[in-house]
């Protein structure tokens, strides 16, 4: 089968995407497929039209690749592709939208407020900050609404730290979230087809629990899979992840990040195209479920070609 691997692009997560893509290409070749590697740029449609692949493997992360843009083009060109469709990608990418959908479905997610840059620049939204901070409490988390990895995500320990955190978050997107910080264990559930894979727990090194950058530095965060949590909690977490996946309209695969609090899981976000690098969580979870990386890639392709058979 001829498989086009879409990777790179102009996203800030280009580096991760290139690593995900390279690893997928290797696996596809070993599986005997014909691989066309596409570093996504201005000639994407031209190249896809010329190559006419049977299926596209989307290994892009962040804005431009994970937000539905590439998926829309693939839908128009009639090329089947891996992972969620354009609409689901767009919903997952925008944390504010995703949280609205999650809450409307009656699922738990930490309280939040979302602001656009225009609200602060032109509508005096700063005057509303004090009240919101009181409702969310401290520390609170400030994050760009769209964007992946840990980029631009900051803790604010007190009101004085909020403006600076907002300036940082607005560097990545024109819309940001102020979110209540919930204490608990940091978990990730990868969903493949309509099946949840074993839960992964991220355990930050001592002293790094307020440093989001640490999540992406090898050696500063330890990942345990399957997570050592009791069966009831594990079932609740898995259930919440699957419900989120369905609510956001995901298909193929996605990764749901949650916090397990004393009162049960709180859903943070859904990643439409989770990383596929050596150290990424989806491959780790698949491995814990007894799937090799090749088997994972093959399964993802199957789901793209026969969505009904999932």
């Amino acid at each position: 089968m001829k498989v086009a691997v879409l990777k790179g692009g102009r996203s800030l997560e280009r580096g991760v995407s290139l690593r995900s893509g390279a690893r997928v290409e290797d696996a596809l070749e070993r599986l005997g497929h014909e691989v066309v590697a596409l570093d996504v740029g201005g000639d994407l449609v031209k190249r896809l039209s010329a190559e006419r692949p049977d299926v596209a493997f989307v290994a892009m992360h962040g804005v431009g690749g994970e937000d539905g843009t590439a998926q829309e083009l693939l839908e128009i060109l009639g090329i089947p592709f891996t992972g969620p469709g354009a609409a689901a990608c767009a919903r997952c990418m925008d944390k504010s939208q995703a949280k609205h959908a999650i809450r409307e479905a009656g699922l738990p997610t930490p309280d939040w407020f979302a602001f656009s840059q225009t609200a602060f620049r032109e509508l005096g939204a700063a005057d509303a900050l004090g009240g919101l901070e009181q409702r969310l409490g401290f520390p609170l988390v400030v994050k760009p609404s769209r964007g992946g990895s840990s980029l631009g995500v900051k803790f604010a320990a007190d009101p004085a730290e909020v403006p600076q955190a907002l300036v940082s978050a607005f560097s990545y997107d024109d819309r940001v979230l102020l979110e209540r910080f919930v204490r608990g264990r940091e978990l990730a559930v990868s969903v493949l087809g309509d099946e949840a894979l074993p839960v992964v727990e991220a355990i930050p090194a001592a002293g790094d629990s307020y440093d989001f950058e640490a999540r992406y530095e090898i050696g500063r965060t330890r990942f345990v899979c399957p997570a050592e949590i009791d069966p009831a909690a594990s079932a609740a977490v898995t259930e919440a992840a699957l419900a989120t996946y369905r609510t956001l309209g995901c298909s193929g695969f996605a990764r749901i990040d949650l916090i397990l609090t004393a009162d049960g899981p709180q859903i943070l976000e859904a990643n439409a195209i989770p990383g596929l690098t050596d150290t990424s969580l989806l491959p780790q979870a698949a491995e814990a479920a007894g799937m090799s990386f090749e088997q994972l890639v093959e399964r993802i392709l199957d789901l793209a070609l026969k969505p009904a058979a999932a």
Binding site: L12, A27, F120, A126, Q164, S171, Y172, C225, D278, F293
Partner: protein, 455 residues
């Protein structure tokens, strides 16, 4: 030319998490301090062709005449092919050392060639010095900010790195003095002080004569070494030449590191170290273990190049080009950076260090700048700790005047947006306009003075 197919090769199956774990127990302790990060991934985007990158540290090699290069290499091939393709002495060829003595002489230093070892770039010299002097946990002192490329070397030898604040006259030697006193009281003896005293990377500042004199005095007093890294000394665009530390000290307590990277080519990888004989003896053993000898072919090329006697003219040509680019960047900074920003005005070298209001994180700013197709090095790279988050290093040697102007304009625009946003968030108004200061002819202060020693 027809395209040659790649040779048959094995494509290794990518490692799984379990594989990584399998090797984890084998890794040396020192690898735990070698880190990859999301920010490093961000730097991957700076390589896109449409990005104006002020992030590099590249000299401009485009002016080196291809004809001379061809003639020199042809002469080597015709007259000494066998020797040029052979191993050489670990210390380097005598002829190479003569070239080095000549380069150092041009900066007023008198050197015994026996004290010189030829290395694979200045970077290897830093590595060999650490290899020779640093045990895990030993204190190494450097400037704040320091050369970002030195940090991983210090870390890989598990040094306890302590940084001493700089201002417009280089390292605050008074703070160094306090630090040395403190360390003495704690019963800890630092192994060396690493400094780029002239046109520092990344700050672009130059250590004053008084501080240079005091620094070498302190080295004698405390019997510790000063490692003077001087890649840019000959690239002076204004102001008076100052004596290198090596010259002031006479070479007893100063280990000198030089390179041809910035005055000839970084691609040939030719650097050197000068050290007192007992230290040199150990460095030579370290070099032997590392790579036996510096590229023989490179050394033959250097010999040919220096024999033509035009190297000083070439450096002068570079100085002309870089002076113009520095001036372009300074002019662009004055025009496009907000009033609350400060920057250094280097008299030489390759870099300007700009400092923004403290609420701007230049790591996050880089993300915004990349969307505007421009890049710089976030200041944090030059610190061991969390400092430097509101500074940036800007390179002016590797890009054209037009690109410098446009690049700085774009960075200025994204900074202006952040300043405006912060003001909207806090109700604060902009700092006083700098234009008035500039008219007074007053120097722009490059740093917020915190008056704190690093540590």
């Amino acid at each position: 030319m027809s395209e040659v197919p790649p040779p048959p090769h094995r494509r290794r199956a990518h490692t799984s998490t379990r594989d990584l774990e399998r090797y984890a127990d084998l890794f040396a302790e020192r690898t735990t301090v070698m880190r990859s990060s999301a920010m490093r991934d961000l730097m991957a985007i700076t390589a896109r062709p449409e990005v104006i990158s002020l992030a590099g540290g590249l000299p401009d090699t485009s002016t080196f005449p291809p004809k001379s290069f061809a003639a020199q290499m042809t002469r080597i091939a015709q007259e000494s092919a066998a020797e040029a393709l052979q191993y050489g002495p670990t210390e380097g060829f005598e002829e190479t050392k003569d070239c080095i003595v000549e380069v150092m002489g041009a900066e007023g230093m008198l050197v015994d060639p026996h004290d010189v070892i030829v290395t694979t770039g200045g970077q290897q010299a830093i590595d060999l010095v650490c290899k020779t002097l640093v045990d895990p946990g030993d204190v190494v002192i450097c400037e704040a900010p320091t050369y970002p490329g030195a940090v991983p070397v210090f870390c890989s030898y598990q040094a306890d790195v302590v940084q001493v604040e700089c201002d417009e006259a280089g390292m605050r030697v008074d703070l160094l003095e306090q630090l040395l006193e403190q360390l003495r009281r704690d019963g800890r003896r630092p192994k060396f002080v690493y400094s780029v005293p002239t046109f520092q990377n990344p700050a672009g500042v130059t250590m004053s004569l008084q501080r240079r004199q005091r620094l070498v005095e302190l080295a004698r007093l405390h019997e510790l070494l000063v490692v003077e890294d001087n890649p840019y000394g000959l690239l002076r665009y204004g102001g008076e030449t100052l004596p290198p530390l090596y010259q002031l000290d006479g070479g007893d307590f100063v280990v000198y590191i030089g390179t041809l990277s910035k005055i000839l080519s970084p691609g040939i990888r030719l650097g050197w170290a000068v050290a007192p004989p007992p230290v040199m003896e150990k460095i030579v053993l370290g070099k032997q273990a590392a790579d036996l000898c510096t590229s023989t072919l490179t050394q033959y090329f250097v010999r040919e190049y220096f024999a033509e006697g035009r190297w000083r003219q070439y450096v002068e040509d570079l100085v002309e080009i870089y002076r113009g680019r520095r001036d372009s960047m300074l002019a662009a900074l004055r025009e496009h950076f907000p009033a609350a920003a400060t920057w250094t005005e280097p008299q030489g070298g390759l870099f300007i260090w700009a400092t923004l209001p403290d609420y701007i994180d230049t790591g996050d700013l880089l993300a915004k700048a990349l969307r505007a197709d421009v890049a710089f090095v976030p200041g944090q790279a030059a610190y061991i700790d969390e400092r430097g988050r509101n500074s940036m290093r800007l390179n002016f040697s590797g890009v054209s005047d037009a690109e410098i102007g446009e690049g700085i304009r774009r960075i200025g625009a994204v900074i202006a947006e952040q300043v405006e946003l912060y003001e909207a968030l806090t109700g604060e108004r902009a700092a006083p306009v700098r234009q008035a200061e500039a008219d007074d002819g007053a120097d722009v202060l490059p740093f917020r003075k915190t008056g704190e020693a690093g540590g």
